[in-house]
Subunit: 111 residues, 4 copies
């Protein structure tokens, strides 16, 4: 398939989108939601850009570079925020964001 | 994780989104693009509703039923169109659509 | 333009998406975020399905019926939740949801 | 509303998303679809990043800068391609892309 070179990054993006969406919903069920407000906001942004990045790469699109550059930056913001919180969903999300940031930076450099 | 009951359907949705996006781009590179026009149009729709379905299920959202109902219907349309074409990307997409349609119908019935 | 019959519904969808996204962010800044948790969750869902509905209608897609049916249902859920809260952003969002629900129901019946 | 400073850019993004989605569907109905293949591909990318840009700005999100930077770049690619084709939908789309590119560049510089 022509989008094979993107496979690892697409997978990282879908994993991250799923982790971010799960984290956002789980944060909204925490006792102290207020403390999680920035985490929720970034989770939603990050999930959306990750889904878009996966989409453009699946289309082997020439837009991949621009989208992956933005995706790496938002993964960084979201991953750093998630890393501050001790809940499992935040820690798992931080890991997914970090991996996705790395994959997207490589892709943006190569695309 | 609270969205575990959705895991299999989320995976089917991401697989289908990737297959549809790949199929759309590959159809645009075929010699007879005109013959693929409906396939391209449905691929784009199907990829987008699949990504949304994965997102709402990852959030264990109460919107899952409505989104999965729509997703199953669009997977059916797209899968039937793809099945008409002999190219590998269309045949693979038809399979992904069929599996995703089934998963989404189960989810819509259960949610 | 071939998507003229959709114009009024597309506009309602974009208005609703904007109102829902704004409401979600504003709810996250309220003192009692916990009370707004369901509102935030539905706002995010509703904004996403509204953007998708606008997209498929702008493409005059045969998927419009299925997407508008789901959109109307999620607008109803979100609008009813928003209507319970006195803040301006919730009241404005409830109005946008109600209008979008009506437009999408008409579209789903006609498409 | 806290997202007032984004109003003009959000509007440009929704206009551009609608124009791109319409252009993609209209290109697929042209006699010589093959000639429009790159236009269709970029239209789909551009519509998606424009909808995401409108969403993050409606949430007054700190991700706005990264998303608007990517959006401006993809609007440039799409607008330049559309400008090459004489059909009304391409010419209208080229205009919408150009305006959205400008608004997104200003936003990215200011955010």
């Amino acid at each position: 398939m022509p989008h094979e070179k993107y496979t690892s990054c697409i997978e990282a993006c879908y994993d991250c989108a799923e982790a971010c969406n799960h984290c956002a919903a789980a944060c909204l069920k925490e006792d102290d939601v207020k403390m999680m407000a920035r985490c929720i906001a970034l989770d939603v942004d990050c999930a959306q850009i990750c889904e878009l990045a996966a989409a453009v790469m699946s289309r082997a699109s020439e837009s991949s570079k621009a989208v992956c550059t933005a995706c790496a930056e938002i993964c960084r913001l979201c991953g750093e925020e998630c890393a501050k919180h001790r809940t499992d969903h935040c820690q798992e999300c931080a890991q997914a964001c970090k991996r996705c940031e790395e994959e997207c930076r490589k892709m943006a450099a190569a695309a």
